[in-house]
Amino acid sequence: MVSRIATYIVLTFVSLPLLAAVCLSVTDSWFFPSFIGSITLEHYKVLWSGHELAHSTLVSLAIASTMSIASTFIGAVISVALHYGRHTTPRLLALGYFPYAIAPVVLGSMLQYYFLRLGLFGSLSGVLIAQSFITIPFAVLLFSTFWSDNVIRLSAQARTLGASTSIVIKDIIFPMSKRWIYLCLVQCFLISWLEYGLTRVIGAGEVRTLTVSIMSLASQASISEAAVACCLMLLPPSLIFMIQYRMVSSQAHL
């Protein structure tokens, strides 16, 4: 009985914010003490009429997709260079933790000067470069878990059978690392999608991703619009999560 109650408390705790976001996104005139104001879909409708939030969503999607693909590709290239045919020193990989550990907003503030000098401040390319400081080391770290002893020996085996490096990468490394590539694509997408600090500082308000919009809407007390933005933010991760869940459970049935 106690355990059931505890479980329900935890489950309520984790689902409250979702409920709040959904409720607020369909409410108008949310004055105390009414629990839910008048229900309306008005805040969603404006999305179709070229509202700023629709723009933000597209910007966020574009940045996150670019980051996801580019970081995975660059991370994979670096990973191959570091690991292919040899065992890399973990010391080198350890460097990858540093940009990841520091708060993005602080990193952005400290780098603002250089971005300005290079003319990248307040531009999309600046934001992409800034985010890659986090996503590329992350991708390299993630791919480093792929290079098991078995993979290294299998590629050596293929080489002695006559396969050149490029063929080994195409025939052995690539097919075997598909799961890592998928994971890396997803994770880099999410890192970029959820990122606020660097984008705010380096984007200088000119690159308005969804997170930046939520923050500014929240500080303007435009509650309903911020809630709509929150719901939009939740969509892609939910989709990814559902696909992953499907995949895992369908594998379990095999």
Partner: protein
């Protein structure tokens, strides 16, 4: 080619940090910046004397540690429940649904979570409204302050929300990997109660196995920005809020002290990360 890529990786990891620290150091010592008049320690001395350095450090670490401890305790209970120790395996609440639900916070960006919790916890928020309708309070001022308070209760709640699923999953997986179920049965046959096992075996074992991950999360928590920005009080500021605030305040003379704090924070994080890596090394290398 390979060597070039290797150096590229090193640059990518170190250059942003080094460049940032050098510029900040220049600024904080009066060597860079439009209003600088040459070398001075004044900004550092000022920051230390104002007590802001100590205050921010204690406040940030305190908040991080509190969030971590509460999240860990909750996650231990959750993983214990989902492991069904001492409970019939065909137990009531559908296992998969509950376990999927607990992962829900993973979908949230910190800024989303902070916004939602603000709307839930503020004196005009959902809980306050519910309390009003239940007759627990009669006006908003009777509702306890949970957001923008000096203790950072709202921040801690939001942090716990964000990291709870990670730890729950981690603990469940570790328990599974180390077959704690078997140990549990073993300990049962030796006459230990479930509680005793939870206290003396389960908790210490999981904590010990995951100490490094906890440390890493503490590092991350010291750098959160969006959550304290939206939910924090006006009296104490975490590192990142303090830095961002000083750098964009109207008083241009405040900028160097923001950079001082940025350096102090970076050094702290670098040392903590280095410790983490050394720790990892002693186990793995």
């Amino acid at each position: 080619m390979r060597r070039a890529i290797k150096y590229l990786f090193i640059c990518l990891c170190l250059a942003p940090l080094l460049f940032g620290v050098i510029y900040s150091l220049g600024y904080s010592l009066g060597l860079a910046g439009l209003l600088s008049d040459g070398f001075t320690w004044d900004y550092w001395i000022g920051l230390i004397n104002s007590g802001n350095l100590m205050r921010s450090t204690i406040y940030t670490i305190g908040l991080g540690a509190c969030s971590l401890i509460i999240a860990v305790m909750a996650a231990l209970v959750v993983s214990w429940k989902s492991g069904r120790y001492g409970v019939d395996h065909r137990s009531s609440i559908s296992k998969s649904k509950a376990e999927v639900l607990i992962l829900l916070p993973l979908l949230f960006a910190p800024v989303t979570a902070a916004f939602c919790w603000y709307q839930i916890l503020s004196p005009g928020g959902f809980i306050a409204r519910a309390s009003f309708h239940l007759g627990l309070i009669h006006e908003t001022s009777e509702f306890p302050r949970l957001v923008n308070d000096d203790l950072g209760i709202g921040i801690v709640i939001c942090h716990v929300f964000l990291i709870l699923p990670v730890f729950s999953y981690l603990f469940t997986a570790t328990a599974h990997k180390h077959r704690l179920h078997r140990l549990y049965l073993q300990s049962n046959t030796l006459g230990a109660s479930s509680w005793y096992f939870f206290k003396k075996v389960y908790t210490p074992m999981l904590l010990q196995k995951n100490m490094r991950v906890l440390w890493l999360y503490l590092i991350f928590l010291l750098g959160t920005y969006e959550v304290p920005l939206l939910l924090g009080g006006s009296r104490s500021q975490t590192f990142s809020v303090f830095i961002a605030d000083k750098l964009t305040r109207f008083n241009l003379g405040d900028i160097p002290s923001g950079y001082c704090m940025a350096i102090w924070y970076t050094v702290l994080i670098t040392v903590m990360t280095a410790l983490y890596l050394r720790w990892q090394k002693s186990i793995l290398w």
